[in-house]
Amino acid sequence: MSDALLEVEGLAVEFATAQGWARVVDDVSFTIGRGETLGLLGESGCGKSVTSLAVMGLLPPRSSRIAEGSIRLDGRELRGLPESQLSDIRGNAVSMIFQEPMTSLDPAFRVGEQIAAVLRRHRGASRSQARRRAVELLELVGIPEAARRVDDYPHTFSGGMRQRVMIAIALACEPDLLIADEPTTALDVTVQKQILELLAGLQERLGMGVLFVTHDMGVISQISDRVVVMYAGQVVEQAATEEVFWHPQHPYTEGLLACLPAEHGRERLRGIPGLVPGPLDLPGGCRFHPRCHHAVAGLCDVTPPGLDEVLAGHRARCLLARDIELQGIS
């Protein structure tokens, strides 16, 4: 008996290509508890957005499929639910905000109407009730003069303000789980900070679980309780946030940490050589070995590593995890 809000187990997602089904997410498992924030970290193309869309049931039908695994919300299996039941959950028990605030709002409708639509759909609110609640929500996410702005169209809002509107839409039905897919990536640094603070504050107030998807180590360190690091469609490391930052157990995580500019102006900026492999040309053995400077020939390019518990509550997908000393941040 677990008290987990979201349990993702052995999730595999495949996309249709000219060469058949390509597996872009493979054997991904994680859980999120109530009120917990899980950071899902990885480079573009590692499958983190696909994972979050799979949880939302928003994968493009026909061109993609969940090949294996299960997604349980409050113990209820979501995989295989018909669209009508999934749409009852979306925007209600699970909400999502996206990377692109500039294009994620409907340009032809007033923002108030776009917020009200969720309430009318899931709460059966009347027109006037929904409108009143929309004003409250705009106030909640910190939009000045909410009572007037509710009747404005999205193009009169800045990027940061539009993301606030998106958050208002996502929180309208007070969801149990919020999925935030790179919500601050497209924003100015100062606005990023405001949005992160807003999200953290609202999470505390509403007690919801958050799946925070990002490629930004700095953002992850500020907001998440635990971190899942993904590489080439797989989970490569999973632990509490400080653990991952201080004692990384996977060379990929070490590489990501090395990409962070060090404090006190000491230049230590390093990158990870090479590119993330595509789902159709995955290397044999460990998927990271061609880019890994710890890789041992005859081992890492032959044996695919499992996701093993290296330290208590700390899992890593590396054959050498127990043998090599990796550098975190101090």
């Binding site: 909400s95 996206f98 994620s104 032809a108 759909r121």
Partner: protein, 314 residues
């Protein structure tokens, strides 16, 4: 919004002025002397000269234009060279026929075309889409005089559901009016409906890929609501522009349809006038149709503003 309409109406004035110049200028470029044509083959040069003087054809060009314009502004578009009827009266007689035909055809084309286009876009790549795409290609390719004859043969002559020609004024018998206009309107609407369907399919499939549609889905809205309420409004923006252009095309195509269905509209009037070199009638027809098309385009722009809030605030 009202200010925008007023501004656009004001902008029409110089435009209409230029149109009158072009329309009236027809007189100068069309070969043949109307006086000669009226006088007939056996007339003496003196008779021809008398007719020329009578018509004011000897005056300088600007004077003739000024005289015509002054009359036209007061609603007098001159007299037919042949029937000696007032052109204004002839147009007033014929205009309701053409307007009924174009209006019903346009309504039909918009409703049918956008429905087919939107449906095809939501079923993109599937059998429904393929069938509808082939249908619209056929609709675009079919010549309307042939389609008109086909409809008359089948629905008027064989099944006798509709009259094969002639026009019943709306004020006399609304049902009869609709029956008299139905086949011509379908004939006229087909190509335009097909064009609008293609535009709507392209526009709708583009809109359905946009980020905000994903947001609507993430809100849990039902697919039918997303398409009908949200995507349709966004997708209609480029389609409205195309629909506006189609109105001018409808007036052009109406000429052929009027002749096939024996409707005495402006198009048929214009065709007769061209064969008779009845220049005042040609001028009147072109001027009136042009002004109507300009006004319709203004209406189209206004409705564009209704669906696109960005235009409104500018």
């Amino acid at each position: 919004m009202i200010r925008m309409v007023a501004r656009r109406l004001l902008a029409l004035v110089p435009l209409v002025f230029i149109v009158t110049l072009l329309v009236w200028g027809l007189v100068l470029v069309i070969p043949g002397d109307p006086a000669l044509a009226i006088a007939g083959d056996s007339a003496t040069p003196e008779q021809v000269e008398a007719i020329r003087a009578d018509l004011g054809l000897d005056d300088p060009v600007p004077v003739r234009y000024g005289r015509w314009l002054a009359d036209a502004v007061q609603g007098d578009l001159g007299t037919s060279l042949y029937t000696s009827y007032s052109v204004t009266d002839a147009l007033a007689d014929r205009l309701p026929v053409t307007l009924s035909l174009v209006f019903v055809a346009f309504l039909l084309a918009v409703v049918v075309g956008t429905t087919i286009g939107a449906l095809a876009a939501t079923r993109k790549g599937r059998p429904t889409d393929r069938i509808l795409t082939v249908t619209t290609s056929v609709g675009l390719a079919v010549p309307n005089f042939w389609l008109g004859l086909l409809l008359v043969t089948f629905f008027a002559l064989k099944l006798e559901w509709f009259p094969s020609g002639g026009y019943v004024p709306f004020t006399e018998d609304p049902v009869g009016w609709l029956r008299s206009i139905a086949l011509p309107a379908v004939t006229l609407a087909t190509a335009v409906a097909a064009e609008l369907a293609r535009q709507m399919r392209a526009s709708m499939s583009d809109v359905l890929e946009r980020d905000f549609v994903r947001t609507h889905r993430a809100k849990g809205l039902r697919s039918s609501t997303i398409v009908r309420r949200y995507a349709l409004k966004n997708a209609s923006m480029p389609v409205i522009t195309v629909a506006g252009l189609q109105v001018a095309r409808l007036f052009g195509l109406a000429t052929v349809v009027e002749i096939i269905f024996n409707l005495n509209g402006v198009g048929a009037l214009a065709v007769d006038a061209v064969f008779d070199r009845d220049i005042p009638v040609i001028q009147g027809c072109v001027l009136v149709i042009t002004v109507i098309v300009l006004l319709v385009n203004l209406l189209v722009d206004v409705s564009y503003g209704l669906v696109n809030p960005k235009v409104r605030t500018q």
